[in-house]
Symmetry: C2
Subunit: 189 residues, 2 copies
Amino acid sequence: MQLLKDRILKHGKNLGGGILKVDGFINHQVDPVLMFEAGKEFAERFKDVGATKILTAEISGIAPAVATGYHLNLPVVYARKHKPITMPDQVFLTLAPSHTKGRTVELIVSPEYLAGGERVLIIDDFLASGATILGLVRLAQTAGAVIVGIGALVEKVFEGGRAKLTPLGVQVESLAAIASMEGEEIVFS
Amino acid sequence: MQLLKDRILKHGKNLGGGILKVDGFINHQVDPVLMFEAGKEFAERFKDVGATKILTAEISGIAPAVATGYHLNLPVVYARKHKPITMPDQVFLTLAPSHTKGRTVELIVSPEYLAGGERVLIIDDFLASGATILGLVRLAQTAGAVIVGIGALVEKVFEGGRAKLTPLGVQVESLAAIASMEGEEIVFS
């Protein structure tokens, strides 16, 4: 998606160590028009997978997932990292190592909103090592749901997450795939 | 906003103790079409306040704030509760007591995205005691920005938050104002 790639080159920053700062339009400040366009693009790419629900992880996955849900007219569930008091005692919970946080985070979904037989499209901001997305996959599978597609705004190809998703046999899409981040450069695939 | 009130009556749940569960369409599972309509309504109500930026708090404020930002064509900043590694060392930070979490949370904004002279519209999911919104107000004022309006999807009138916002002298809007939550009832103002 050229609009997103242009934005990454203009306002993204390679902080070194494989860390891409996109706080100006995705991760802290959000550009709603860009998110809406990204959602439209995901909706187009996944229009034939027969999804019944979109699953993402708080926090930064919410904006692109809601934009995609708007265009596909599907509800969006975001896995929570802390169980709120409104959630029942019995939940689906998995652990996922967080690269950028340097620790393991919990991903929690209530069985009220993720049921057996659902066809789940996963949308997140980043596909890097794949750890968070694989956590979402485990949650959905534990609920008896089927994964039908995976989309990420930005893919860090050099972290190899895509290969870990291949065994799922589903369509995996990213809107900006970064092949390398040497020095201060950002090079798309 | 009738659409939201109908939804609260149909799928909301009064858990007692003043706690309203809206996990099925706002706080865990999100209805993107409802959020988009709410954003349109906020955009209409705040179209004349001259906002240059929308400010919200992660997590549940993100969806309504991004929807509003889409309709007003404004960037959205969400205050973070944990400082990510991509954020500079010098930040704006305030503490806000969280009613539903039973503890104090940090609200953090990077000076990169909240500058002096900005005209800030605050959008959040709930206006209850007003503690979170007042935290956002302090962050914006510390940055030298001006608050020009405050909007919440749901107002719990009986928690009295609105009175705390009155001294700001700005327009305060809620799309569903709940007067009381006795027993299992949900009574709108």
